[in-house]
Amino acid sequence: MDDITIQFEECLRRHLRSAKPTAINYEVELVQLGLDSMTAVAVLLDMEKTFGIRFPDDMLVEGTFRTAGRLKEAVQLLRARKAS
């Protein structure tokens, strides 16, 4: 599987006003980086478009994008499912 880190972080930075341009902390909650109800929708839509995936209903919950780490895992899982 390709490393999606660069694309993933670019995608986050497009929507999160507090995400640093250098490094993204994968453990910190995304709300601390500026995620709210509007940007959450925008981030998920952008992830779907960028990676050609679709979040199933059971992943459209806050736990999926609580941290950048959780969200990246979800994206990788969906990419893997798609590839298999």
Binding site: S37, T39, A40, L45, E48, D57
Partner: protein, 374 residues
């Protein structure tokens, strides 16, 4: 208390709609409406456009028909208004039958619920004349019953429906992440002029992550039955006046403050303020006896309710804030501090009246106007 006639600084077309929204109740108001509607200089294009934007076309139509203005209006416009009124009445009748069908299923399955908004207001606040516009049928349930109701409505032929939105996938994700409502549900019907019936099932009196709330379970314990015009023996549960008023005002607050409603151009409207004015007038004695104020205080919604009522009073010359002694509440800066994320509308110095009249709302238009700084 009498209300002064609206000032006409925003034009005769807007004055007519303001009069209709707050309700024409005395001779000076009737006379003013007649003079404006029969004026040679009235811009019918502007009046019809604003009536549509504010969901008031059936109300305008009913007024010109009941005021017997048949030969004082351009013929084509009169005939169009007459048919728009008839069509609205036809749709309301269909909605009544459908509401009763869904309500029966919910009741048979032991699910506490109420019918809200247009379906209850049409017969109680608008005298069952067919003048209240409705897009859909609104219900309120408790969050614990979401899955049960989703399954029941599927059995009744409804399915999640997002195609009404400009970006269906965005709406679908937003709906999942903001579970204050079930997904919008629709059922295709084979009826003249009506392709589908939509129902909107809420499970909150406010919205997901709202800084304040009135527990829906508490509101659902305070229900009354309301007869359905044209369906003898059928009644529907609705909120008793205190909770009916709270929900309606908080709903208007929500649509005024959440950016997504501005983006869709469905935020504040004359009709929604008209609902609040009529509710307050009709249940005045119930609402000023103290229970409403106690409930607002317990659930920390006094500021948000006062904010709506102050804008209503300033716009329509009503007296709700004084009647409820809310003069010290509703500070906009305090509310804005509670709701400062990008999901909320930012304050501007535009008055509510200017915001209502503005056609520049919605994502496809210029920058969205916001609240008055008052």
């Amino acid at each position: 208390m009498t209300r002064p006639l609206p000032d006409q600084s925003l034009g005769p077309e807007w004055t007519i709609l303001e009069l209709l929204a707050r309700g024409i109740v005395d001779d000076p108001e009737r006379q003013l409406a007649r003079e404006l509607l029969t004026s040679d200089t009235l811009d019918w294009g502007e009046l019809l456009e604003q009536a549509l934007r504010h969901k008031m076309l059936p109300m305008l139509a009913h007024h010109v028909v009941s005021a017997e203005l048949r030969f004082d209006l351009p013929t084509s416009i009169y005939l169009h208004l007459e048919s728009a009124l008839e069509w609205n009445r036809w749709q309301i009748n269909l909605f009544r039958t459908e509401t009763a069908r869904v309500a029966q299923s919910l009741a048979e399955n032991g699910i506490p619920f109420v019918v809200t908004k247009g379906m209850t207001f049409e017969s109680t606040l608008y005298a069952g004349l067919g003048t209240r516009h409705m897009n859909d049928i609104d219900f309120m349930i408790a969050p614990r019953d979401r899955e049960k109701v989703l399954n029941l409505t599927k059995e009744l032929g409804f399915r999640p429906f997002y195609e009404w939105a400009k970006d269906a996938r965005r709406e679908e994700i937003s709906s999942r992440l903001n579970p204050d409502h079930l997904p919008k549900l629709a059922r295709e019907v084979d009826q003249p002029g009506i392709r589908m019936i939509q129902i909107d099932v809420a499970n909150s009196l406010t919205w997901t992550r709202s800084p304040f709330d009135v527990p829906v379970e508490e509101a659902l314990e305070n229900r009354v039955e309301q007869p359905v015009p044209g369906l003898p023996g059928v009644s529907l549960p609705c909120f008793q006046p205190t909770y009916q008023f709270l929900f309606t005002v908080l709903h208007l607050f929500r649509e005024a403050w959440l950016q997504k409603f501005v983006d869709f151009g469905t935020d504040v409207s004359l009709m929604k303020f008209g609902d609040v004015i009529r509710l307050f007038d009709q249940h005045h004695n119930d609402l000023v006896d103290g229970e409403l104020l106690r409930t607002m205080d317990v659930h920390h919604v006094t500021d948000s309710v006062a904010w709506v009522l102050r804008h209503m009073d300033e716009t329509f010359h009503t007296h709700a804030v004084k009647s409820l002694a809310l003069e010290k509440h509703g500070d906009e800066k305090r509310l804005a501090a509670q709701m400062s994320s990008s999901g909320y509308v930012r304050a501007s110095d535009q008055s509510m009246r200017e915001r209502l009249q503005s056609k520049g709302r919605g994502s496809s238009r210029s920058a969205a106007p916001a609240h008055s700084g008052s």
